[in-house]
Amino acid sequence: MKPFTFKSVLNIGVILAAIVFLLPTFFNCWPHKKINLGLDLQGGMHLVLEVQNIKAVEAEVERTIQEIKKQLRTEGVKHLGISRLNDNSILAKFADGNDKSGFETVLSKNFGNLVAHKPQIDNNIVSYKLALSEEDTENLKKMATAQALETIRNRIDEFGVSEPDIRIQGKNRILIQLPGIQDPERAKDLIGKTAQLTFQLVDDDADVNAAINGTPPVGDEILYQTKYNPGSGIPVKTAFLINKRILLDGSLLTNARVEFDQFQQPQIGIEFNRKGARVFDHITGENIHKRLAIVLDKTVYSAPVIQDRIAGGKARITGHFTLNEAKDLAIALRAGSLPAPVKIIEERTVGPTLGADSIRTGLISMVIGGFLVILFMIIYYKNAGLIADLALIVNIILIGGGLAAFQATLTLPGIAGIILTIGMAVDANVIIYERIREEIRKGKTALAAVHSGFDRAALTILDANVTTLIAALVLYQFGTGPIKGFAVTLCLGIVASLFTALVLSKSIFNFVLKNKPSKKLSI
């Protein structure tokens, strides 16, 4: 007999490889790939955000309207109202004659990308319906999602989370996984903040209260400022009539950081780049004695009266921030605003203590379940049971090694998958052993019985495992998070048990039978 057959080398090689991959999980050694724990085991937050990218389209349409108006002003063309309709098209009205032709020139010269419908004429008023092209709209939406992803990634990086997983899912969804996060609420606030900072003028010519009860004047909107009563802490809302025109926004920021006022109250100091500083200089110079509102996500933070032209491009956002709120807001402003608001449509947060409990109960049931199966096999199949038990232990090592080698994630359902595999791995041995017993009853010798037992059972075992493998692969394809973890351990378990039953156990049997003089089988 050759000392090293191909099979024995294969057996030992596979087992050694699995052990090498499994070791770093317990000790700090090569190849430094630990088994990843899922969020449900180590604690953490899983979020799915929906980017409301239709809002980015809305914003673009509003911007286009402002552009058209500006262009018309410079060309001296008068309009009778240009507004955004609910389906994100633009309705522009002109008096027939010079204004009409003037508009058409502007349209063809500067806004060729807009799709224009045939104008309608009614009482000498010409109405145009304009829209962004389908392609532009789709691009805007796609860009909004991509940009939101980038912004959120920057924010999370600054917030400081180790190994976050952030990716686009489908058309307008963003999947975020933050393992081991300490303060999920705060992270959620930071991620979800649109952080759209704008500087807009307060319209002091019209009456706010009349606007609240009726409709605001054309070009204005009602926004609120929330202040807290210093004594009782009850929030008080103050309404402002704000001109819709955005004079300056947060895109020209270079820096935002937390500062403190003379009462040690946190506030955020912002700095603009050179272009921003020039715009700021310009608007403050032109609007002295008017009120300039600092608006963040449609909420007024302050609306100071402009006393003088402000050069240098520095401003402050004051409000009743806690230190953490101020820090997070500064991060959000630095990382940039989201191009469209996001909505949390799925959240799964697991605290670290629950994760630890899950690991404990999972391991306990694994050990107890495994022990019972091992005991059963020894009682039922005696020495042959021992071989099956050895195969079972190797099986678990292989699954662990596989998890580490493929950098798969172990989840709570994944542990359940391993436990299930313990039950299923010995199935293969049961099928073989029953067959061997049958062959022995037919009067075959031990060696012949073992051979035909393995040969005849092999195909059955393969068939039976392939069907489970199919189900597990489908599950992997369709499942998310923890369920995927289950599919992974199940697949690994099936492959491992095919190996342990059909290759490893058989080799052990051959080895034992060749070295045993009595040729009587303990099964």
Binding site: E185, K188, T361, S365, V373, L412, T460, A464, T468, F486
Partner: protein
């Protein structure tokens, strides 16, 4: 040691009428319960909603928690003990989604602390929006459908060598389901229709083994879902995982029997009657069928009793599925193949 005598000979095929009656009763009960309860008792994974798991350091009356929650407008919230009584753990469940965006955990901690006097530890928050729930439901149905289909292709390929026939059939079914799903058909109706067509095609194309297998699998899945519905247990994502595993695993037993049937038919003299052959095959493999299920059930019971509350329902679904699956591979799958053989 031997639990089942090697010379055992039970007349399974002869008793198939009793088995059919039992199966039909179970299926009718399942469908009845599903109709009364208007479908499975979907957890938040499939209909959307919020669950929050909280733990107290000492005993707290449930009423107090409820009072605290209704103070912040969670009137529809249900509060249940979670796990063992001495754990002082509770599961709050609400269809309210509005508050999850802003400081939900904090407001619940504050409210419950105000009403009970003890600050709870928030251990788990799960919120699923209605659209996500719908997506997951469709995905789950598709997963069940695809795994049934793939498995039956494999069975007809391996047992009847009709790879191409079953492959083409499955391919056209998948394409049909895909295109129809684009047109916003209800996924549940679509897949039910697809399965009925699959069964009819198996019958017409005489794919006997595949038909026996798929009938047995549908039987197992339907009854497992039915038992969950009767016991009013939550139907969540892990249960889908359990169902798929049952689909894959309950077939193990069926395949063991099928394999033996095929082997016995090959070696049979023409004089042997088919029912006798089938019965012989089932009996010969009986100890295997039972033992493999027993070892799996052993670990599942360990998981059920010791694995903790989160995995509880999953383990339960698996236990039910394995029991039903073992029963169906003896009493349902083979008799169906026999019927198809007799055509």
């Amino acid at each position: 040691m031997q639990l089942i005598k090697s010379d055992i000979n039970i007349d399974f095929i002869g008793k198939h009428n009793i088995a059919y009656a039992l199966s039909i009763i179970l299926i009718l009960l399942s469908i009845g319960s599903l109709i009364i309860h208007k479908g499975p008792n979907y957890g938040i994974d499939f209909v959307g909603g919020t669950i929050i798991q909280i733990k107290f350091s000492e005993q707290v009356p449930v009423d107090k928690i409820r009072t605290g929650l209704s103070d912040i407008g969670f009137n529809d919230a249900s509060v249940q003990n979670f796990g063992h009584n001495q754990d002082n753990e509770f599961l709050i469940r609400t269809s309210n989604l509005a508050m999850t965006d802003k400081g939900l955990s904090q407001s619940i901690t504050d409210a419950v602390k105000a009403s009970t006097g003890i600050a709870p530890e928030i251990r788990r928050v799960e919120m699923v929006g209605p659209q996500v729930g719908k997506d997951l439901r469709n995905k789950a149905l598709l997963a069940i459908f695809y795994s049934l289909l793939f498995i039956t292709i494999y069975i007809s390929g391996r047992f009847e060598l009709k790879w191409i026939l079953s492959g083409v059939m499955a391919g056209s079914l998948m394409t049909a389901v895909y295109f129809l799903s684009v047109f916003n058909f209800s996924m549940a109706i679509l897949i039910t229709a697809a399965l009925v067509i699959t069964l009819a095609l198996f019958w017409i194309l005489r794919l006997k083994y595949a038909m026996g297998a798929i009938v047995a699998l549908l039987h197992d899945v339907l009854i497992t879902i039915g038992i969950f519905s009767i016991l009013n247990l939550d139907f969540s994502l892990p249960i889908i995982a359990a169902l798929l595993t049952i689909i894959g695993y309950s077939l193990n037993d069926t395949i063991i029997v099928f394999d033996r049937i095929r082997e016995n038919i090959k070696g049979a003299k023409t004089t042997d009657s088919l029912p006798l052959l089938f019965n012989k095959s089932i009996n010969e493999t009986l100890s295997r069928t039972i033992l493999t299920s027993v070892t799996t059930l052993v670990v599942l019971f360990a998981l059920y009793f010791l694995g903790g509350e989160i995995i509880h329902n999953f383990a339960f679904a698996m236990i039910i599925g394995i029991l039903i699956g073992t029963y169906s591979s003896i009493f349902v799958a083979s008799p169906i193949v026999l019927i198809a053989h007799k055509r």
